[in-house]
């Protein structure tokens, strides 16, 4: 050993002596300590509530823990537009109108009666409830409701366009009366007032003005008030001065999990009382099977979301109506429902879902399901053959597994049955790009979902078909059908939409909707695939778990 090496050893010895001693002398201690700690932590679960072996998560009083993958973006009702935010706003707030349990029929909530509509259909007069207070103690009146609607309109939040396009003015005409004037008649307007974002908010807690949002607080009039808005937990406590029917539990813990797999496991280990959105179809199937054995409860409800294909009439060969009709004939909804969703949806044969009495299964009547012969005949008549096949691209968001599976299934049906006359190519694309490019007309066929803003057939018709500016030759140049990627333009349909929006008589409206649906089946700008079924799972011992028609979980009826 030379001198320099010896020096290094000495230097190292000084600097690491303590470490060496620790490692040498305490190695066994650390091993033992680690083992003990592991045992203490893992055996200590008995005192915890999340991995309880009882039927319902215990140690939580009568509070309900709802597990979900829905992480709210904001709690400001003027900016909330996704189910993850709206479901919380819905349960903490009151609107002028809400839906009767299990139906799409409206009932007054902060209003005391349905609105009086002027003969021209432009003025709505709404009587306002008395004796209501906000979570911060501020009294509620027509002026406060005017403020709330003005804020929804003026602050420019995500859903503000819903009212901006319709409402001309809002005014509290007395302490208990609100008058709303519309820009043009809109028969479904009361349903729009049931949108969770159009709820009453305290004028003391919020401000008017573009961009003035409060994403992490909520001060409304509903049965629950917000007590914690954390990174993975939202806590709601019962509002003791609530004017209406009191909740049957002591509060809600909204536990946010990062993936369906975590939600699935958390529910199975009874870490959460209720599992609510989003579970994968295979997980729903597994939980349903266990529910049949009595392990827990499965609650299914008819959903309001629909899945459909948009066919771009400005792209070849879809500019030919016969090709669009052939695809409509080819679609076999029972196979799609079985393969993609394990039968957890309802086959849909119209743009309007079965929830509404105006629904007509026009696609079933005209094309049936998997009508291969009709598809072949239509394509052959249009000049397509094995040597000259109709080649069409189907695009979908890469973040939607059900869209991907549906596209693959449709392609498989065509490959198996169409003898090469009709060939699909599947292209997934990142969702931000997908939604950006739909309205640019880049995709021949696109598959996506539609979640309604309000429960009226109009919300399944106008946002898809209306096109005020366009031509039969070039399709839609500006309008809703361009936004949805079909570029559909039909002056007759535009006229029918204007009529149904003006018509106050339900029977007359029904006739108009029937006519529109029939026209859609002929023109095939869209092909409806399925209507969702919503599932919620609850541990045994819980009562009153139910979904409202907009698929929101109703908190106040849940009881341990």
């Amino acid at each position: 050993m030379n001198n320099s090496t010896g020096c290094k050893i000495l230097i190292f010895k000084n600097r690491f002596s303590s470490l060496a001693k620790s490692l040498g002398g305490m190695g066994k201690f650390f091993c033992l300590f680690g083992l003990c700690l592991f045992l203490v932590i893992s055996c200590g679960k008995g005192s915890q509530t999340t991995v309880s072996t009882t039927k319902v998560a215990s140690g939580n009083g009568d509070r309900i823990t709802v597990g979900t993958t829905l992480r709210p973006r904001t709690l400001d009702p003027a900016d909330a537009y996704e189910v993850q935010s709206l479901v919380l706003v819905y349960n903490m707030s009151d609107r002028l109108y809400t839906y009767k349990s299990g139906s799409t029929e409206l009932k007054p909530q902060l209003a005391t009666a349905l609105p009086k509509v002027s003969p021209d259909g432009l003025t709505y007069t709404i009587p306002i409830r008395q004796g209501v207070v906000f979570h911060d103690g501020t009294p509620f009146n027509a002026k406060a409701m005017e403020f709330s609607i003005q804020r929804f309109l003026q602050n420019g939040g995500k859903p503000s366009f819903l009212l901006k396009d319709v409402v001309d003015s809002v005014k509290a005409t007395s302490e208990q009366e609100l008058t709303i004037k519309l820009k043009k008649p809109f028969a479904a307007f009361p349903a729009l007032l049931a949108f969770p974002g159009v709820c009453a908010v305290s004028p003391q807690a919020y401000e008017l003005g573009a961009g003035k949002f409060q994403p992490s607080k909520f001060v409304g009039t509903g049965p629950y008030k917000l007590t914690q808005y954390g990174t993975d937990l939202v806590r709601l406590d019962v509002f003791d001065k609530y004017w209406g029917e009191k909740p049957l539990n002591q509060g809600i813990n909204w536990q946010i999990l990062s993936s369906p797999a975590n939600l699935f496991n958390a529910f199975r280990t009874k870490a959460v009382d209720v599992a609510y959105i989003s579970l994968e179809p295979i997980q729903i199937k597994t939980l349903q099977e266990s529910a049949k054995k009595g392990d827990w409860q499965a609650i299914a409800a008819q959903g309001s979301a629909v899945k459909f294909m948009a066919l771009n009439r400005n792209q070849k060969p879809l500019d030919n109506a016969a090709v669009r009709q052939a695809i409509a004939a080819l679609i076999d909804r029972s196979i799609i429902n079985q393969r993609v969703l394990y039968n957890q949806a309802e086959a849909l044969y119209s743009m309007v879902p079965t929830t509404f009495n105006v629904y007509k299964p026009v696609f079933k009547e005209k094309y049936g399901d998997g009508n291969i012969n009709q598809a072949k005949q239509l394509l052959t008549a249009a000049g397509f053959s094995q040597s000259n096949p109709a080649k069409i691209q189907i695009w979908h968001s890469s973040t939607s597994p059900t869209s991907a599976s549906a596209a693959q299934t449709i392609k498989a049906i065509a490959d198996k049955n169409m003898e090469g006359i009709l060939q699909f190519e599947i292209n997934p694309v990142e969702s931000a790009t997908f939604f950006k490019d739909i309205s640019k007309g880049l995709y021949p066929i696109s598959i996506f979902d539609w979640y309604p803003d309000f429960l009226d057939p109009d919300n399944y018709i106008q946002p898809f078909l209306e096109c005020p500016k366009g031509s039969l030759a070039n399709g839609c140049e500006e309008g809703a059908s361009k936004t949805q990627g079909s570029f559909y333009y039909n002056p007759k349909v535009n006229q029918l939409i204007a009529q149904e929006r003006q018509e106050q008589n339900p029977k007359n409206r029904q006739k108009i909707f029937t006519e529109i649906q029939a026209q859609v089946a002929i023109d095939v700008p869209y092909i409806p695939l399925w209507q969702s079924k919503d599932y919620v799972f609850a541990q045994n011992g819980l009562k009153g778990v139910q979904l409202d028609p907009s698929q929101f979980l109703i908190y106040k009826t849940i009881q341990k």
Partner: protein, 341 residues
């Protein structure tokens, strides 16, 4: 120039270069985000919002300005340490997002690192000190397996075994939703529960922390195991170790007092870089275990093209990486006299 003067000079240069590196990171992130297909207005407002609403929204948030002006505004804000406001949660400052979410990430990173170091160094020592034995082969295998296994897969398997089947640990989350969380002092639940003297909260925190940190820690331990094993083996064959043996020093003392300290020097470098990457990149762990950390939030912000949040978080991560690399250099220079600048 003496060694310590050189080191001081080096540290000053590194500290002066740090803002330049952060500026480069911020610029690249700013440009890359704008080059990415997809518009925040489409991603956030969704397909059904009319074009007029999207235009108004862009105007309100300054996204309609020319790119250079957006850049100038952004850099101006950055100089004032203003990371802007989130586009998705309108009104929420990006700093607030960091304050809310970073403690969870830091806590997971620290606990995982403790596990990784303990397991990695321990197995590395065992493996290197008994060459050619079953322990040596086992250590090698451990290093390769843990290094190559995907985190999300191991995480799910461990969840299934220890949470779902055995019920020893919670399957996910940071704290029990049915108990009050520790009062926020530092944001680190372990520390906060100790500071508030609540042992029940402390053990609940450890209970929730155990599975994700063991998973991440064990997978990371492979890196440390390999480094320690290789370096320790080489050191144990060095002349000075042979000399120590010749002097009759017990093998155990040679191992811990003479050989191990040399073998641990490269661990410092890897430790710093791994820790920095853990703080910024533990996304798979966070998603697998529903850990409400910053990486999870970053993923969400990227999906929604939330420019200010993505920019702010990446600059913050950049700051951590730059800071960590400076600290490593200084530490290395301090413990290893062979390093010259």
């Amino acid at each position: 120039m003496s060694r310590y003067q050189a080191l001081r000079y080096y540290i000053i240069v590194r500290l002066l270069l740090a803002p330049l590196m952060l500026w480069a990171i911020a610029t690249v992130v700013f440009l890359l985000l704008r080059a990415t297909p997809g518009d925040p207005a489409d991603a956030i407002l969704g397909g059904r919002a009319p074009e007029s609403a999207k235009q108004e929204w862009r105007k309100q948030l300054g996204l309609d300005l020319p790119l250079w002006l957006q850049y100038v505004n952004y850099m101006g804000s950055l100089l004032r340490l203003d990371l802007g406001k989130s586009l998705t949660s309108q009104g929420q400052a990006v700093w607030q997002v960091i304050v809310d979410y970073f403690p969870a990430t830091a806590e997971l990173a620290i606990s995982s690192m403790i596990v990784a170091l303990g397991v990695g160094i321990g197995i590395g020592i065992l493996s290197a000190s008994r060459p050619g034995t079953f322990l040596d082969w086992g250590g090698r295998l451990f290093g390769i397996v843990t290094y190559s296994l995907p985190m999300f897969w191991v995480g799910m398997i461990l969840q299934l075994i220890f949470a779902v089947q055995l019920g020893w640990f919670p399957s996910s989350g940071r704290f029990s939703s049915s108990l009050p969380a520790p009062e926020r002092i530092t944001g680190l639940y372990t520390i906060d529960s100790i500071l508030s003297g609540n042992l029940a909260q402390f053990f609940t925190t450890l209970h929730y922390l155990a599975l994700p940190s063991i998973t991440l820690g064990v997978l990371l331990s492979g890196i440390f195991e390999r480094i320690v094993r290789v370096n320790l083996k080489q050191t144990l064959q060095a002349d000075y170790v042979e000399a120590a043996r010749a002097r009759g020093i017990p093998e155990r003392k040679i191992l811990f007092s003479h050989a191990l300290k040399n073998a641990l020097i490269p661990v410092i470098t890897v430790l710093g870089l791994t820790f920095a990457s853990l703080l910024g990149g533990a996304i798979l762990t966070e998603v697998t275990f529903s850990w409400p950390g910053l990486a999870n939030k970053l993923y969400e912000a990227i999906s929604l093209r939330d420019y200010p949040t993505v920019q702010g978080l990446l600059v913050f991560f950049g700051f951590i990486v730059v800071g960590a690399s400076i600290v490593i250099d200084i530490l290395n220079a301090y413990v290893d006299p062979r390093i010259r600048y």
